[in-house]
Symmetry: C2
Subunit: 319 residues, 2 copies
């Protein structure tokens, strides 16, 4: 087979196309995809948030079909989405995720995972233990992004954390912070979502509490969520900006300056930690899966993911 | 004398009025003012940035006239501008500058320094050494605000810092960072200002350099300065927001999230360090003084400070 199906965005429209099967370059492996997850970033690319064109998708699990190291062939894997040059100033400073020349699968400069195959650097792979089902392993990438917050914020200094937004990202963040033993309050619209496993000790509120928090995580992706986050961050506290937004935010910077708030942008995180936490069952996001569509129905899957209140929609490449 | 002159803002207009001389409450001292400095915050209050009404002014030096401790009487002093309750959660957590019930001289809940007298808590005083002239001591408050950046940012991890804005605040920040041995680049409009003492080792540019910096300090107070600051902050870098702004900033948060930038609000700083650095001559802001007006001409002084490109305008209460 020299061709494959891929869901592509050309800057104006979205279509499932028959395209050339990708070829692994030096240092890369060829992965046959089995499952992929739809992220808000995918939806925002389609809304014009990013200049990316090509095959969408960056949350996935698959099986290595070709690899420089033969022992990898047949292994089930997930992959960090950033390809780094290892030569620029950011790479040399130990920040390959911020490589100046990086590509990011399905987001910037490299075709992604809503397809039958993709290529990715061998060094980016994390092998998925046999015990970890594809339906959970596919959450490794967004869970890693949630875990990045713990890489950036020193929680030993803080007692409580507020997460704003009970969508799929907000819930993964909440699961990860609760698993780390933190006292989490979740501000959202869906109290029934607390029934997901791992959320039994979470405080939930549907309107802003009359309380400020030393750490607030904004995961709504909308300007009113951001404004609420600024309002609920304690003086000298930290506001983690986890969402991507379409276009500009208008905000009054005075509270940030007067209250000396630290606003912290946060993106991709440690895939190995995410796989480990999923594999041992410490974090179980199974309940976040809203629906599963075959790749052939990828445009319908995107439409489903775009519906208000939708949780995670998965694509299935096999069967 | 039971009355005094004071420059007051009533929410709509500015006027030099004859008002009652303030009386020191428990724990307070009465200070006879000798010099005061006009800050952009004063100008922004007049533009409607803050709901404050009363006597403006928070940069000053004066002489203690009444005090619980008699040894203080006759001493030349400057004062931290924040009065704290010592009982709220922020005070108990060791952040009296962020006291929930605080007042701030000439900014919030307490009359300020563009007058013949003010009252301030004795605990807020820093005594001015005889060797330090009033014309320099009056810079203690804005210099403390500049020094706050060094309290918040761990510069041991960084090589270079960019300061955006060569107005009076940007120059004080530049002086303070250069004095600390940091490699400072200043982006501004007035290369001739580098002739001020202490700025001989500064790199100056009049347009954004083709380079990103691990630490950027925004001190222009205008939205285009903020946009430039976001653009010039390196991935995982820190953007210090030092200026107050009138109204909202519109900004695209994507670079903050994607580049995992830390945006840090910064306000008042350590008055004792500021006085020490001024007294030993390590920082000499004398060249920042644009003009000195008698208190009787305070409205003219404000108009002068409001002129584009103006540096520090001082008020003189005696002589």
């Amino acid at each position: 087979m020299k061709t494959m199906k891929a869901l592509q965005w050309d800057g104006a429209s979205l279509a499932l196309k028959t395209v050339a099967k990708p070829e692994a370059k030096a240092g890369e492996v060829l992965v046959r995809l089995t499952k992929a997850g739809i992220c808000n970033t995918d939806l925002e690319i389609i809304r014009g948030y990013y200049p990316f064109t090509g095959t969408l998708g960056h949350e996935f699990v698959g099986i290595v079909e070709q690899a420089p190291r033969r022992s990898l062939i047949g292994k089930r894997v997930v992959s960090d989405i950033n390809s780094s040059c290892h030569q620029c100033a950011m790479c040399l400073a130990g920040n390959p995720h911020h490589c100046i020349k990086r590509s990011a699968l399905g987001i910037h400069g490299k075709d992604g995972a809503f397809a039958e195959y993709l290529t990715t650097p061998e060094e980016n792979l994390v092998i998925v233990p046999d015990s970890l089902d594809d339906n959970l392993a596919v959450y490794a990438e967004p869970l890693a992004a949630a875990l990045e917050i713990q890489e950036q914020v020193d929680f030993s200094r803080h007692e409580g954390v507020l997460v704003i937004g009970d969508g799929k990202l907000g819930l993964l963040i909440t699961l990860s912070l609760a698993q780390a033993g933190l006292e989490v309050t979740l501000l959202g619209h869906h109290p029934e979502r607390l029934e997901l496993p791992g959320l039994d000790n979470i405080s939930f509120c549907t309107s802003p509490p009359d309380l400020k928090f030393p750490v607030v995580v904004e995961a709504t992706g909308n300007p009113s969520g951001f404004a609420t986050a600024v309002q609920l961050t304690a003086p000298r506290g930290t506001l983690v900006l986890k969402s991507t937004y379409k276009g500009n935010l208008a905000f009054n910077p005075a509270p940030l300056v007067v209250n000396e708030i630290t606003l912290l942008g946060s993106r991709c995180g440690p895939m190995d930690k995410a796989v480990a936490l999923l594999a041992c069952g410490a974090i179980n996001p199974a309940g976040l899966t809203q629906d599963i569509f075959p790749l052939a129905d990828a445009t319908r899957a995107i439409a489903r993911a775009n519906k208000k209140g939708a949780l995670k929609v998965l694509l299935e490449m096999t069967g």
